[in-house]
């Protein structure tokens, strides 16, 4: 049961992965060449644009191996890519998995990673059609390329928000940030994996079903997922659309778990909501008259997902202003996680 990659080798592992995918994966439509050739191949569907994204997660930087199981790690890596496809209003179709592994990695852990990938892909009838395995002395990395599709002309970009638009956000950003802080402050041997906020960090949800439903309304003027934190990603919309934003602090959604954790952690809950947090919620902009249609689309796509109107887009390019309940305001920097500066600045 403690078989390592050094025992079975690259080609042995590829065979094991193919067997596992045949057993638990789905057959994606329109694939003409799957795993085991120089490339994968598929026939695109007429009338659709293809969407393509890649995201890597690296040991020690994006996950804490002692606090997450291999299957949850696989789910998480796939979820953040599905979230990007969803934030364009599309559906995932095909994934390619590039892994950097150590020779002493357990084969069972690699299989569990793939079970995690498949668990997230199967509901979309999406499949793994290729990839690459390599040895990496410097720690595990998982790099996923995900290909999706959206009806031609229906993709919702970051660059098309308009002054006067309402700003909406799904769910409760900040929950994953609180979960990570709880993990970082955990005592030795403390098992927090069932804590709801730690689960939000280790096993985040995507909003791809909701994103697709929103795109189909044709009402969203811009959409993005919150992978760089709420303010960071609102900042991306402002920068790409050359607009500004006004937020109302008392409208920011904070749920009971987060409020309680903020007390325990002695942190301002608004810091958790606004800054770096791996929640993969959606920020949507739309004309004020269309807010109800966006809410209805989300409600039809998924039960119980909150949609909160938190502010509006302005013509003051690059300026994000926060209004407090007493009518005062201050300007915010559109900051998010910067991998190289390593700070939320």
């Amino acid at each position: 049961m403690s078989e390592t990659l050094a025992n079975i080798g690259e080609f042995g592992l590829i065979r094991r992965i193919k067997d596992l995918l045949n057993e638990v994966g789905v057959k994606a439509p329109r694939v003409t060449t799957g795993i085991g050739d120089d490339t994968a191949a598929f026939l695109p569907s007429p009338g659709y644009e293809l969407l393509v994204t890649c995201d890597a997660i690296v040991e020690g930087r994006h996950f804490l191996p002692q606090h997450i199981t291999a299957i949850d790690l696989g789910r998480r890596a796939m979820t953040l890519n599905i979230s990007d496809i969803g934030a364009m209003g599309g559906s995932p179709l095909y994934a390619l998995i590039s892994l950097g592994l150590k020779a002493e990695t357990l084969v069972g852990d690699v299989e569990a990673l793939y079970r995690g990938f498949v668990a997230e892909l199967n509901p979309f009838e999406a499949a793994i059609i290729g990839g690459n395995l390599t040895k990496s002395e410097g720690g595990l990395f998982i790099d996923i390329t995900l290909i999706g599709q959206v009806e031609e002309g229906r993709a919702v970009k970051r660059s098309t928000a308009r002054p006067g638009d309402a700003i909406l956000v799904t769910g409760y950003p900040g929950r994953a940030a609180a979960g990570l802080q709880l993990l970082l402050r955990a005592g030795p041997g403390e098992d927090l994996r069932e804590n709801p906020l730690v689960r939000a960090y280790n096993r985040p949800s995507h909003r791809a079903w909701e994103g697709r439903a929103i795109a189909r309304t044709g009402c969203a003027t811009a959409m993005i997922d919150t992978s760089d934190g709420f303010l960071g990603d609102l900042g991306h919309i402002c920068e790409e659309s050359r607009v500004g934003a006004e937020l109302h602090k008392e409208r920011l959604p904070i749920d009971a778990d987060l409020r309680k954790a903020a007390l325990t952690l002695d942190l301002d809950p608004y810091t958790l909501v606004l800054h770096d947090s791996d929640d993969y919620e959606l920020i949507i902009t739309c004309a004020p008259k269309d807010v109800g249609r966006i809410r209805d689309a989300v409600a039809r796509a998924a039960k119980g997902v909150a949609v909160t109107e938190v502010g509006q887009i302005t013509d003051r390019a690059g300026h994000i202003t926060m209004f407090l309940p007493d009518g005062s305001s201050h300007s915010m920097r559109a900051s998010g996680w910067d991998h190289f500066k390593g700070t939320v600045s």
Copy 2:
């Protein structure tokens, strides 16, 4: 001039890369969303299958940073992906670049990497449309996803070789293996970068133009690139096609550079030709009557590229037999580089 990623940050680097691509890259056709959104998007061309491949190269494992410039590293990483598209008979269209970088990496080196990527993509009017940047403490990795296209039904697979087919190979496999051995045995400070075999290792060619021309003849029954070494990749054809192969040792192509280096290195030149070598040549199978058409197609696509007939496909599934000039024969193991076992076994 010694600006690092820690100085300019992730978003600063993304802006620099966008500027560089605007300056030196081409505008690829049918792109509806480029770099800077949740995903890239494009409109596929009717009548084509899409091909997709990914390959990672990792510092210390796939390249020796002290012996290769950043621009050549970029060219090499892109070439091995273009080679995979070419080995299916397709043309590259769009690339996504996922980089794992250290905070102390020089911005100039990252820009040089991208100049290398673009130098290989521009001749195909192919463009970089997305990617991902992350910090990697454990050393640089470059993971490229390359999307290409081939006329519907024209992709040449590994799994369709037939008993009786001739086995052809382009160029001179083994040159890159010899170059690597020369580098590994170089004295301190010895600069071998202009040695033709070292150049073959650091700056390999792909055969994508030739592969496309071969696919268009409709005569190739199977095709693969030699990224796992000639025997390893012939073995992949045998395994996937459930056939065997007979090789004639005296027909294996060995050029003068390789013969000379083998003497210097005290190695059997046939070991260099047959086993692990990063040359990205093509192995092609076809009916014996079609050998001339394959040769003509290669000659039209590229001047001076040798095409050598080295043996034939048999119905003895999984068996590769080497015939010597004296009429004796021995059986060969279809081996190639195994990343986890780390040996050519």
